[in-house]
């Protein structure tokens, strides 16, 4: 699994600041982390997607205003996400005191948990093809074993086997 160094990241940010068309690199580097951050907070799948899209849209629109202060770029993205989540929460409950919201929705979320989850998401990409397909259909599309069996034209037993092996592979990779 390739690791992005601080200087790589800095170069990617500067490139995107000069040419927003080069934002794709930052997107690729940070997609799983942002999605994991949002997923730790938001249960609903379509809301997770909307929020993740919003974070990157805002980051792209404001990339020129980003200043390096030693913290990784992703912490800026987390702040955008935290503010957006707080914004949503406020809309739902205008009566909730501001301080209470800040505690619940700030970036004080367990970032180790977010990192761990992002690593799992990223590790799915490297799974053998048949395991990867099953894991994606099961966890990203939230399909049942029966539906996946029909989609892939395999028996339910075979799909369960692939699901089991996929999780075993992931467990082994995450120990590395």
């Amino acid at each position: 699994m390739s690791r992005v160094t601080e200087s790589d990241e800095r170069m990617a940010v500067e490139a995107a600041q000069q040419d927003p068309g080069r934002f794709a690199e930052l997107y690729e580097q940070n997609f799983h982390k942002v999605y994991a951050y949002v997923a730790c907070r938001i249960q609903d799948r379509s809301q997770r997607q909307d929020l993740t899209a919003y974070v990157f849209q805002q980051a792209l629109a404001n990339i020129g205003k980003f200043n390096w202060r030693g913290a990784p770029f992703v912490t800026w993205l987390y702040r955008i996400a935290a503010n957006a989540i707080a914004d949503q929460a406020r809309k739902r409950s205008r009566e909730v005191a501001e301080t209470e919201l800040a505690t619940k929705t700030g970036v004080d979320l367990d970032l180790e948990q977010v990192d761990r989850r992002a690593r799992v998401f990223r590790a799915v990409e490297a799974l053998p093809e048949d395991q990867r397909k099953v894991i994606l259909l099961r966890f990203a599309e939230e399909k049942s074993i029966r539906e996946i069996a029909a989609d892939l034209n395999r028996s339910e037993g075979a799909v369960k086997q692939l699901q089991f092996r996929g999780l075993e592979t992931l467990r082994a990779r995450l120990r590395e």
Binding site: F23, Q49, Q57, L60, Q163, L167
Partner: protein, 317 residues
């Protein structure tokens, strides 16, 4: 009954997780427990289609505002401040010198005074009027990269200092000046630079007497939504940010030297007639019924009960 295989037990646990209920895991089987822990982390996995679609969307031009451009002039927001000043010409010179404003357009307005359009950072500002006009000053939260520098330039260009730059514990460095037209500029840089959607460099700041009522008016008249609201248990609004369309306005309850101004606001709305009716039913009074103007906009004016005038406009033709 034969014990279910670990493959089936794992699937049972995953089915429970996906149904957002807590799976029952056989504690005696550590392998199963570890696999369920991985499954727990996988919950919420993004789909490849979503990831690819978002990438494509970000790579293309952001056309989310396409619909709004049809009724707004290019580069303008829903809410745009319109300062009316007696020393209008001098004020234009001041904002150029002090704040680096760029003049985009200047003409004689429909009432015979100056009408000037300027750009400051990402914001537009109208300045109009002249010696024969009643002043409509405004207060602004002016977000800048360097508070001390902008403050010094403002004072050097003739502004009166209201507060020298200082760090405030609520989270920003801020200074305040008053210009020759009586407008107040709260020159600020938040410590936390995370962008807030629709918060622009030049943001109108109101000091209403009765901020909750003013917020209520903005919600009913213009469909505003509260973004931030810090208030005491007694309902005293220390600070609020309220979004109207694609712009945020700010406010704090009037107190001490920070008293209401009677400001003018130029709004672009999708439907002038609807906005006009909504504003009237929210308590505003009519100053001009919706009328097509020779300069290509349909326009209405309303006065709110806090002394502000709202020019409601949309492009026509």
């Amino acid at each position: 009954m034969a014990e279910r295989s670990i493959i089936d037990q794992l699937d049972d646990a995953i089915t429970a997780l996906l149904a957002k209920s807590e799976p029952t895991v056989n504690e005696a089987n550590p392998e199963l427990a570890e696999l369920v822990a991985v499954a727990r982390e996988l919950h919420g996995l993004p789909s490849e289609e979503f990831r690819a679609a978002l990438k494509e969307q970000l790579g293309g031009k952001d056309d989310m505002s396409t619909a709004t451009k049809k009724f707004k002039r290019e580069g303008f927001y829903t809410v745009n401040p319109y300062i009316i000043a007696k020393p209008a010409v001098e004020l234009v010179d001041f904002v150029k010198e002090a704040f680096g404003a760029v003049e985009a357009f200047r003409a004689t307005g429909s009432a015979g005074g100056l009408h000037c359009e300027l750009t400051i950072g990402d914001s537009k500002l109208f300045i109009g009027g002249g010696p024969g006009f009643d002043a409509k000053p405004a207060a602004f939260h002016f977000y800048v990269p360097d508070v001390d520098d902008v403050y010094s330039r403002a004072v050097a260009a003739g502004a009166t200092s209201l507060a020298a730059p200082s760090d405030q514990e609520y989270g920003e460095r801020i200074a305040a000046v008053k210009d020759i037209g009586g407008n107040e500029w709260y020159i600020a840089k938040p410590f936390d630079e995370t962008p807030i959607r629709d918060l622009h460099n030049v943001t109108l700041y109101f000091h209403p007497v009765g901020a909750p009522k003013f917020i209520d008016f903005l919600e009913k008249a213009f469909g505003a939504e509260v973004v931030q609201r810090h208030q005491s248990d007694e309902g005293f609004v220390y600070h609020a940010k309220v979004r109207i369309g694609d712009a945020i306005v700010e406010m704090g309850e009037a107190h001490d030297q920070w008293q209401p101004m009677q400001s003018a606001i130029y709004m672009f709305v999708e439907d002038v007639d609807v906005a006009y009716r909504q504003a009237l039913s929210a308590g505003a009074t009519s100053a001009l019924e919706p009328t097509d103007q020779p300069y290509g906009e349909r326009m209405a004016w309303v006065n709110d009960e806090f002394g502000n005038v709202w020019y409601l406009s949309r492009l026509i033709g």
